[in-house]
Symmetry: C2
Subunit: 230 residues, 2 copies
């Protein structure tokens, strides 16, 4: 819903101070209930995209007028990010293996060093271009059963959800980097330029850390937006 | 105040579920008024770092337990970012010139293409290492007088403030990139690896866009943190 409203703002080219359609009109347009619309509008207000003026309606803020397409404060799966950017996605699984948590993984996931984990390496292609290299470390018991019987090209978020682990937030670190050299060599990924690295610990609704991901996003294809306040 | 509290959490190694000192104790510890402490605590609650429990106090959240040192959602000058990371800062001014807004600058600053601007290029060094390349475009009339009479190595935020332009927010786009090649050549900045590019339009309290900055942060030295929610 939130995205649909942002799309509408972009589509209409609404600018700072322009008025957004009333709740009732949006509810009708998108065929969803008014509470659903209201919740999305509230979230956009909190993000600073909309200003509500008592008795007058909601207006595009001076910040919201710059479309915040992929706000980095929003937890989204890579599938969601790439789909929203208009890419056709294909996923290549490069490897999946059981292993023991390294110091870095243990710290991120609040495990003992050496605790059992599953490691999954994938490339996400958009329109046949490699766009995201996605290295995951999953707490072993969050996905029971033999790794051999799963389709690892499918959504990891959904697989975790099927076991009751609903990821609703994450703590992420963002920087610019190259791909790990051994990885570049093994998978012929040289000359794709700098990558935006998001190192992310994902938390479930109950606060459990089940997934640590290192996502390398092609800098020449993917950017994130953010509203910053003093 | 906010930073002092985050430092205290980091110093004590407080973890998810740990209780933070009471307002009164923090006020005493830092020698500031309780309203000041309360405001900082509120902002940390909003960021999801602290959870307030009615009648019991404030607790470190599961997300806050991972220290969010440089939250990307916080508008900070480069000076603030680098100082907080413990660097001794030196600023080299590479060039300052009056010019006419390009299409990109005009769009970011809501000017007519060709409108008068000031362009300022700087390198910020931390402990003698070039860490941030900072390219600014300033709306010409925001800083009256001849550019020749200003000390451009000083804080640009402060200079704008002295003319009544208080920057309190920004809209930023983040990606990974190389430095512009002509810039690398002219200023001998090769082989410093990938850069985290933040393209940022800064807004004053009155919503005016006075500054557009392209900041290239050394990926091997600078990272930002963010809490993400579904």
């Amino acid at each position: 819903m939130r995205q649909e409203i942002l799309d509408l703002i972009a589509e209409r080219g609404l600018d700072a101070g322009d008025k957004l359609d009333a709740e009732s009109a949006l509810s009708k347009r998108f065929g969803v209930s008014r509470p659903t619309v209201r919740e999305a509008l509230k979230s956009l207000e909190q993000e600073g995209v909309l200003n509500a003026v008592q008795g007058q309606g909601r207006f595009i803020s001076s910040m919201g007028s710059l479309a915040v397409e992929r706000p980095i404060t929003r937890y989204e799966s890579i599938t969601e990010v790439l789909t929203a950017l208009g890419y056709e996605i294909v996923t290549a699984v490069l490897g999946v293996a059981e292993g023991e948590a390294t110091a870095v993984e243990a710290k991120a996931l609040r495990l003992e060093e050496g605790a059992p984990v599953i490691r999954l390496a994938r490339i996400r292609y958009g329109n046949d271009e490699p766009l995201v290299v996605n290295l995951n470390t999953i707490v072993r018991d969050a996905l029971p059963g033999s790794p051999a019987h799963r389709d690892w090209s499918a959504s990891l978020t959904s697989a975790l959800e099927a076991h009751g682990h609903h990821i609703t937030s994450s703590v992420a670190r963002i920087t610019a980097t190259e791909l790990p050299p051994e990885f570049v060599q093994r998978h012929a990924l040289s000359d794709l330029g700098p990558w935006l690295l998001v190192q992310e610990t994902c938390l479930t609704t109950s606060g459990r850390r089940v997934l640590y991901a290192e996502d390398y996003h092609r800098g020449d294809a993917i950017a994130f937006n953010v509203l910053r306040h003093r």
